[in-house]
């Protein structure tokens, strides 16, 4: 049993490396600089553990008896303490301490003294339990607000300002960069970069209440052209519905409860306590990146959000009939 577990554990370790939220699966310079140092220290410490366990086991062979004991003035063994307890750990720990400082210097996660950092490209505000995202680049008419899905240009460092509207959260996309807390009244900054276009998942890493588990996060890195297209698309107001179902759905949205909390730019819906839905149809997930954005989940979310994410602010909305619900979802899906 023990041997099987011993054989399996490196396999488990390796199989974990390629998973989506693994720090070993580094896809940006921040995470990529941390990962090798982490490998070094993990391998070294596994070796140290092995050596220490052997040192603990070997003396077991030399047995004594409770009837006798060594003389009380017996000496010896000080060398062990000086070498193993003091000198070797001093050298190893100093090396790792310095390596850590160098790493921190080269790619700081946040640096309030750096003037470039003070002009963030993106402001992310944590809420219980979703992310409000402001794009601040460019003149005021080039700025826009979205939620939960953060697009960045690939191969380019982006500066984020991270804040919170309520309790503490933490922004963490393990494949791109380490985490940093989002604390009300204490803005933090992070430089984040993805080497290649792709989807990078993460989640809130500071316990923030009952739905901490469903405060997931998606960063989408795009080529420069695709990113430009995306920002142009985001600057547009909500798509005006054209099909009869979608037009009916818009009426459901505007006359129902939805618009009290949600905003769709270009319509009278200007609620500000819940995620902006202007381009909800283009997002991959709903419920703070927790559930796929498709017809079935959208319908279920509207009527039974409390079953998916108990305790969240979104109520179960059961006052729509089947047709209204289908129209509403059609409307949301064409908001691209």
């Amino acid at each position: 049993m023990m041997r099987r577990i011993a054989l399996l554990s490196p396999l488990l370790l390796l199989s974990g490396c390629a998973t989506e939220q693994s720090i070993w699966n580094a896809r940006g310079p921040g995470a990529a600089r941390i990962a090798p140092l982490m490998w070094w220290i993990v391998v070294l410490f596994l070796v140290v553990t092995l050596i220490m366990w052997i040192l603990l086991v070997i003396p077991i062979r030399r047995r004594g008896s409770l009837d006798e004991h060594a003389p009380i003035d017996i000496g010896g063994g000080q060398g062990w303490v000086a070498l193993g307890g003091l000198l070797i750990p001093l050298a190893v720990l100093t090396a790792f301490f310095v390596a850590g400082l160098i790493l921190m210097e080269r790619f700081p996660i946040h640096d309030p003294n750096n003037s470039a950092v003070l002009k963030p490209d993106i402001l992310v505000i944590g809420h219980q339990w979703w992310w409000e995202v402001h794009y601040l680049d460019g003149p005021p008419d080039q700025r826009f607000v979205t939620a939960n899905e953060i697009h960045i240009p690939a191969g380019q460092a982006v500066t984020m300002e991270l804040e919170s509207e309520d309790v503490n959260h933490a922004f963490w996309v393990p494949t791109l960069q380490g985490k940093i807390d989002m604390i009300p009244g204490h803005p933090n900054f992070m430089r984040i970069e993805a080497n290649q276009p792709g989807d990078y998942v993460g989640q809130c890493a500071e316990y923030c209440g009952v739905q901490h588990a469903h405060m997931r996060l998606l960063v989408v890195a795009q080529s420069a052209a695709a990113y430009k297209d995306w920002t142009e698309q985001m600057l547009q107001p909500g798509h005006t519905p054209t099909t009869p179902e979608a037009i009916a759905g818009e009426q459901v949205f505007l006359t129902g409860k939805c618009s009290t909390c949600h905003e769709v730019r270009g319509t009278p819906a200007r609620g500000h306590v819940a995620p902006d839905l202007t381009h909800i149809g283009s997002r991959q997930y709903i419920g703070a990146d927790s559930f796929p954005n498709n017809t079935a989940y959208l319908e279920a979310w509207v009527t039974h959000a409390q079953s998916f994410k108990p305790g969240c602010l979104m109520p179960n909305i059961t006052d729509f009939n089947g047709v209204q619900l289908r129209d509403l979802v059609t409307y949301l899906q064409q908001l691209r």
Partner: protein, 626 residues
Amino acid sequence: MSATAVAQRLKTEWETPKSLWGKFATVDHKEIGIRYIVTALVFMCIGGIEALIVRVQLARPDAALVSPEVYDQLFTMHGITMIFWYAQPILSGFAIYVIPMMIGARDMALPRLNAFTYWAFLLSGILVYIAPCMGQAPHAGWFAYVPYTLYQYSPSHGMDFYAMSLILFTISMTGGAVNFILTIMRQRAPGMSINRMPLFVYSTFTISWVSIFAMPALTAACVFLELDRRWGTHFYTIAHGGSAILWQQLFWFFGHPWVYIIFLPATGMLSMIIPIFSRRPIVGYPWVAVSTILTGAVGFSVWMHHMFTVGMSDMSMSFFSAGSMMISIFTTVQIFAWVATLWKGRLVMTTAMHYALGSIAVLIVGGLNGVVTGIIPLDWQAHNTYFVVSHIHYVLIGGNMFPVFAALFYWFPKMTGKMLNESLGKWSFWICFVGFNVAFFPMQILGFIGMPRRVYTYPAGLGWSSMNMLETAGAFVLGIGILLIFINVFISRRRGRIAGRNPWNADTLEWATDSPPEAYAFVHLPTVASRHPLWDDHDEEADPSDERTLDDGRLTLVSTWLDAEPYAVASMPKETLVPLLACLTLFGFFLALVFQLMWLVLGCFLVTLSFAFYWLWPRPEAEEGA
């Protein structure tokens, strides 16, 4: 006077009457020590059951065994139960039981305070467990970060119970620390100069000083929290100029020294047990003693390593990273002193020794993965993930629970006069050891592959499912191992082999007393001539002219703190109900504060105050201790 006549006189002086009144009024350190141990073990069982429910919920992705609210309450109650009401009190229990005898005294220096701190510990635990009985348990993790714990986000009474019970707990802790300091500085046997103190005494002495300086930060943090929650102050509210980080600073200024408070006495236990079963004095006694003290001192300059992701200047983070590296060197010194003792000794592989070696093995892993979190950029990835959950359990099970089990097997014969069953003990060790590693080793990998702590569930497809299932299985195996220890205790208490005075042929003074010891412990208060009183040629109880029987009242010797030269005789107090009554009204005070019943608060306060006056009122010599 004949020896038996003296013993009889001492017995009548010291023994607590065997009546109901005696049970509540006792000030005997042996009785109180055992109560501490039993109560802490009960809390450990409760905390363990909470942990098992948590593990079942996490065994599969998207599970719904418990609701998110209940899950949050469970992991919070597990954390605070284990960290506050198990991990420290169990060490205090052993220390209160063993240390007076180990240093050749007849009781703690302040026996009534000793009773008081026990009742305060018990009642604070009961206070915090009223909350889950009302369905409103604390739910914000053991470090309870604001703003989530403010009224706006946590309106239930859970956090009020958290704050109030912890304040009562800090009162107990502080009283206990004062008592240990006084006992150790003033009651050591003649000749037990500071360089001859057993290492368990060193570690308890160190953490008592640490407690005195660390606990006020927790008290202040909790007072501020309650004031913010119920009285409209703004220590932590940003909108009115408070700071959410203030809580973190206060809490961790207490919190990291606390880690050493619940760790160092356990290393002290190992420094007693390992040499005994290596049949030689410990290698590097001065190294270990100095490392213990330095760990306690430097423990005050590492707290910000819990906050590397808060967003602080690189300079302050680097300072605390360096402190964290430095403090791990003091622990490696201790570990290598133990390893050298093993290599230079001849081992006797008792169950206690199994647990001692197992705890070093586990502690090594916990120490090393602690270094990972001490390196700032690595902590940015590891922080708040299951890697940290693994770390804290490797440190606290290797550095507290296994040493405590070793101590249980080691001192149980002294406490009960019976030996624990060795073969059942070794079975329990191997089951605990394997179960523990299966439960907690995979958590390190889970942390690396991105699983944050404190999530009530997780999606399939991130590669976390199989390891979570494995961990749950391991947790249950660990639970079975611990259950075996309890079975062993229950069976051996009645049917165990008779222990005799010194079953391990050990070297410290407590083994010179009967098993279980008489209330007065020693007929002739012992003198000491070396670090190993029972292994040297000096006869501790040689007292031909009966100068050190002190049988003329409840008396014990008082000595100087460095050289332990006797200079006075102290008269010790008799049994009294005042500590219990004062604690009960104090309990009422805090319970009333939770519900803001202000007239009751005032009433309880005044009654507690009058008990304090009665307790402390100077009395003529003859009535001393009434």
